[in-house]
Symmetry: C2
Subunit: 316 residues, 2 copies
């Protein structure tokens, strides 16, 4: 049923940076992650594990490798996985990326090295080219990750142009988390051959589909997967504007809170599984008043997470 | 002769983020690094290895651990080392820090986790507290690393106040690379007990010493160590202003170029060792015209690196 996630080995559709559950000692909780991934797939949402909203950059390379192994061992289809593998150090990016590809992941979402700022396009090109050469696999499909509000290292249209020209079967798409529709639109207008443009927020999903984009990779799909997928599947229908408006209402509610703790609190509440609310420092959980406020706002929207609790219990 | 670097187990004086030599495959060149560290120590400059200007964040945790081992095995005094150990992931920061302390390093320079932005002081406090508890050694001495222009995650005075209060024998100093003298001065005025304030540029060295600071940790000390140390040793003398003015002239020359490649090009030139000019992507070497321009400007200053070439040859 998830065949929409791949066409010609390239992703399209809805993916989410799966939120990361932690044990009380802040170690990753692989069992809860496996359950959540299975639920996401049941909702037709692909797995962009280790994204920004997965606290992916708060995990070590070794922790990420072990989690990928655990997911695949648990029967999660690697075809549905697009792990975040871009690190500050070239050697760590290569290690993570090579491991993901060896497991059969259909793609990786690759941040530029993000510590040094004002890096030249030439230097970013050299990084991606070096990673591609070292991984050395025709199965490698890179989705660039443009998220200037967090990484503070943008991926310019000129850099994409050069990478797509030199590595047309490897650099196959981008997640645009700039929040700037004009940037997304400019990429779509370039019409690079079969280049997959994902928006980083479902607020732009309809616009993206109407302009030739491929879907969205959105944190809110952790909590509102079915509705986001419904818009993706029906973007050409008459009800598309209404579906988009409903998605926006939910997203606007979450945007009133720190996003990652709010997503986790929401899952903790609707799964009746309070351990979900834990974050690894430097990120922290919502305060109890924020928590109450969030749940109240969601109730006003008649928000639900059908199937979540049953999934959580069935596979415990 | 380097006893100035430690008093009561806390650093003072001049340290440098030692530039990182690479082999042609971009692997770290431990032998060249050992030679350079020995030369730095001969110039009375301590070793803030894996700093920003060491391309420390372009190395993996495993690479940094191996390099620390190689330096200590080569007889470099761990008492003179203040490795950079702050990573995005708590578990990597703990691993690197514990290793540095197990080798006998007198301190570590610790970036806050720098991927997520607009993190609360509470979240940064939780990170440092967790690292301190996990490393669990009374030998751990943390120098906080405030470098908002690069990390984009500042360390506030309130955060320092709280850490110093709760961990007075562990959180013992800071490197202020804000480039904002008013920030440095505000810290000095707090007069935390024996708290060591280092400026990140020798341009503020005299002012820092005159206001109760402990020295500088400066990238330019890779190329101009003796002169920077001379000001540190003579900051109360009549010639201090002249010494500061001379330092500024050299620093201003380097500031006309991308700093890390310029430092490496300078060492490559004066050591007659062209392999020093290599950087790991995303950073790149100077262009040949920038290179020629840099060397010409240094010649106009009658700039020299006495002893560098002999050190490079003697220990090859």
């Amino acid at each position: 049923m998830n065949s929409h996630l791949k066409e010609d080995t390239r992703f399209s559709g809805v993916l989410t940076p799966v939120i990361m559950p932690y044990n009380s000692d802040y170690s990753p909780d692989a069992d809860r992650l496996i359950r959540q991934c299975k639920w996401m797939l049941s909702q037709s949402v692909g797995l962009a594990i280790f994204g920004t909203n997965s606290e992916g950059n708060s995990l070590s390379t070794d922790e990420k490798i072990e989690l990928m192994d655990r997911l695949v061992d648990a029967g999660i289809d690697a075809n549905k996985m697009m792990p975040g593998t871009g690190c500050c150090a070239l050697t760590e990016t290569v290690k993570l990326t090579a491991h993901a590809i060896s497991l059969g992941c259909s793609g990786v979402l690759m941040l530029p090295p993000f510590f040094y700022k004002n890096v030249s396009d030439e230097g970013l090109y050299a990084t991606y080219a070096e990673v591609i050469q070292r991984v050395g696999s025709s199965n490698l499909k890179i989705y660039l990750y443009h998220i200037p509000p967090v990484a503070n290292v943008p991926i310019s249209q000129d850099l994409i142009e050069r990478l797509v020209r030199d590595y047309p079967s490897t650099v196959v798409g981008i997640k645009d988390s700039s929040g700037d529709w004009s940037n997304t639109k400019a990429m779509l207008e370039r019409q690079w051959d079969d280049f997959r443009v994902f928006v980083g927020s479902e607020a732009f999903l309809l616009a993206n589909m109407q302009n030739g984009g491929s879907g969205c990779i959105s944190a809110t799909a952790n909590v509102n997967p079915a509705a986001i997928y419904e818009l993706f599947a029906n973007w050409q229908s008459e009800k598309a504007d209404d579906l988009q408006a409903e998605l926006n209402e939910v997203r606007n509610t979450f945007s009133k809170f720190p996003l990652i703790p709010a997503l986790k609190q929401c899952v903790a509440h609707y799964a009746e599984d309070p351990d979900w609310a834990r974050l690894r420092p430097p990120l922290l959980s919502l305060s109890s008043s924020q928590n109450a406020d969030l749940i109240e706002k969601l109730k006003l929207l008649d928000f639900k997470m059908p199937g979540l609790k049953a999934n959580s219990r069935a596979t415990k």
